[in-house]
């Protein structure tokens, strides 16, 4: 297998260069080929491939593959978690939202951040003390292995699938714009590199790719925000004054706008963002890569700091783009400008390009190349983390624990997870291409809703509630999962926008179902647990004390194996 590494890597990196050479001849409506961006991107990929090669030589056991042998430090893991969370969607999406709506962007950033303290207080240490490779290790600690593993695998795989599709489609569109590559080439490239990172380097490679990308993204965003503030003498007031002057909505961009109109909808979205964070499998998996509970706790502290800092930067970047991009004809589409008279609406490539154009405005072509390469790297790193989480769920939970009953040969389990990664990669490429022209914005919201309504309730109840039984967890978890999916299908975003039914006809008025799907999950878990009089329920409840002691003290927790 390892012999295949370099030929595969060279083939993938070479592909866009060939495609670009061909693309230069036929021209077309795509963005002009951006050579400095491509150069920097190739440098990034080369570096990460060297790391993957290094990691592959050190990845032998299942612990190496799933959890990097537990040898990542708290600070490194904090950066990696931040990297997993600061996706291209949050960098380009939130700065774009600030660009079009001002204050509304800040409301979103706050929502994305506030789940982290909850993770610190209730999840991180407990997870490290009780689990080994996946969060299902924790939920099935004292409950019936087979049932709970299947539930956790369903929750993980559905979350990963929707998140992955959203990232793949976003990646294809973005790369098409940034590098002038065809959509399908971009999707194949992302999927292919992801498969190389994960199958060869496992968690070790995925973590280091994530750390490098997080450092690049944070430094790039810091430079941009500083450059914007420098232009206004480091006075936010001067920046806001200029922004309200040039933005068509004027002073309305300084207060909550139309984005959040219905209070119930706002609360429901808030719940999904806050508790979904604590149920995302690719994030939860990161707590197993550190040595012990203390390092797990420190890593969330660092991650919260990095993510909070990053969201403050995106807010400044969004306002910077209002003042510097929407006023510069070089970044605007003249025909739209003619029609709407608004620089905000006329931005080339849509509002998601606000941060990219701002990079050009403050740092010139070279910095534009850097930020474009970072945006691409971001997508690569996030999809790799997702693929690894999905593959682990298949190999560790389904193959190792359910099919082999916990007696799987370690090497077989690793082989299964590599095959699962390849299958997920091919599937992601296929779905990415299928969904090219669909509106996939709801998919990230759906992923968070499912994480908040299925993974989170089962996880938190299994850690803290003695009365939880296998039956209660199973019924409540599936209730949450199914009601979240149905709630999203019947919501305005899918019913009216994606499925094309008449406006106002959506049966559920909430944009995010978390409000009722979370309530259903918790109520179901509680009710079916207290009604449970089976023999299994006795075992489940009796197991709580031993679990609680290990959860609190870490006595018996799986140790780091890094050498």
């Amino acid at each position: 297998m390892r012999k295949l590494f370099w030929p595969l890597a060279i083939l993938l990196v070479g592909m866009p260069t060939l495609a670009l050479a061909a693309g230069n001849i036929d021209g077309g409506s795509k963005q002009a080929t951006n050579w400095s961006a491509i150069g920097m991107f190739i440098a990034f990929v080369a570096l990460t491939l060297v790391i993957t090669y290094w990691a592959a030589k050190r990845t032998a056991s299942a612990a190496d593959f799933y959890s990097a042998g537990g040898g990542i430090t708290g600070f490194q893991n904090g950066l990696a978690i931040a990297g997993d969370y600061m996706s291209a969607a949050s960098f380009l999406g939130i700065s774009g939202l600030v660009y079009t709506s001002g204050y509304d962007g800040l409301i979103y950033s706050v929502g994305w951040l506030v789940g982290w303290p909850i993770v610190t207080f209730l999840i991180a240490e407990q997870l490290r003390n009780l689990g080994k490779f996946t969060f299902a290790d924790v939920t099935s600690f004292r409950l019936g292995q087979t049932d709970i593993r299947i539930l956790a695998a369903c929750g993980s795989l559905v979350t990963v699938a929707f998140y992955l599709i959203a990232q793949m489609v976003g990646a294809g569109k973005l790369i098409q714009l940034l590098f002038g590559l065809d959509y399908w080439i971009a999707v194949v490239l992302v999927g292919g590199l992801m498969m190389i990172y994960v199958t060869f380097g496992g968690m070790k490679a995925t973590t280091w790719v994530q750390i490098i990308k997080a450092a690049l993204l944070l430094s790039g965003a810091t430079f941009m925000a500083a450059a914007v503030l420098y232009k206004y003498g480091f006075s936010p007031e001067a920046l806001f004054a200029k922004a309200t002057e040039v933005h068509p909505k004027k002073a309305a961009i300084m207060e909550p706008g139309s984005l959040i109109s219905n209070p119930l909808s706002a609360i429901s979205l808030g719940l999904a963002l806050m508790f979904g964070t604590a149920g995302l499998p690719h994030i939860l998996m990161r707590f197993f890569t550190v040595k012990d509970a203390q390092a797990a706790r420190k890593s969330v502290f660092y991650a919260t700091g990095f993510i909070g800092y990053f969201y403050i930067l995106t807010f400044i970047i969004g306002f910077g783009a209002i003042t510097l991009v929407s006023t510069d004809p070089a970044f605007l589409d003249s025909s739209i400008l003619e029609k709407t008279k608004s620089g905000i609406a006329a931005i080339k490539g849509g509002s998601n390009m606000a941060a990219i154009h701002l990079a050009d405005a403050v740092g010139g072509n070279l910095f534009l190349g850097f930020i474009s390469a970072v945006a691409f790297a971001t997508i690569l790193a996030v999809v790799s983390g997702l693929a690894l989480a999905g593959a682990s769920s298949i190999s560790h939970d389904l193959y190792g624990m359910v099919i082999k009953g916990g007696n799987a040969n370690e090497q077989d389990e690793i082989r299964v997870s590599k095959i699962a990664t390849l299958v997920l990669g091919v599937l992601a490429i296929f779905l990415g291409i299928v969904f090219e022209n669909q509106n996939v914005a709801f998919m990230v919201g759906l992923a968070f809703a499912i994480a908040a309504s299925c993974n989170f309730p089962v996880l938190v109840m299994s850690i803290f509630w003695r009365g939880l039984t296998t039956r209660g967890a199973l019924i409540g978890g599936f209730l949450g999962l199914i009601s979240a999916v149905i709630g999203v299908i019947l919501s305005p975003a899918v019913w009216e926008v994606t499925l094309g039914f008449a406006k106002g006809s959506a049966p559920v008025k909430l944009d995010n179902p978390a409000l009722f799907s979370m309530a259903l999950a918790f109520a179901g878990i509680w009710l079916f647990s207290i009604l449970d009089r089976s023999e299994r329920a006795e075992i489940d409840r009796d197991g709580f004390d031993a679990q609680y002691i290990r959860c609190q003290t870490g006595i018996g927790a799986s140790a780091a194996t890094a050498h």
Binding site: S109, G111, M254, P263, I267, G308
Partner: protein, 101 residues
């Protein structure tokens, strides 16, 4: 094994650890919930309040409030980590030593 479990459960250090850690954890979670949903309710029901200008400039009161929620999330996490590093880890070490002896 069973003996070891009861022994730990009876250890006053363990009881103190559980009591202190769970009360702090749940209390901080509650504070975070109140801060965040307080903010969301302001956004939903009092957008004009958040749009109140500070002094003569264009900066509104919503900007420092929004930023404060972000900073507070970080500060609360810091409080927990500091407490855990300074006192819980000491208790855990004692419990583990007690258990071994």
């Amino acid at each position: 094994m069973l003996n070891s479990l009861t022994k730990i459960e009876r250890d006053p250090n363990y009881q103190e650890l559980v009591r202190r850690r769970s009360s702090l954890g749940w209390m901080l979670s509650l504070i975070m919930l109140v801060i965040y949903f307080g903010f969301i309710l302001l956004v939903a029901y009092a957008p004009k309040f958040l749009g109140t200008r500070i002094g003569t400039g264009v900066t509104t009161i919503g900007i420092p409030i929004g930023l404060a929620v972000i900073v507070l999330a970080f500060v609360l996490t810091g409080i927990y980590v500091r407490k855990a590093n300074s006192s819980y880890d000491v208790l855990i070490r004692k419990i583990v030593e007690e258990d071994r002896s």
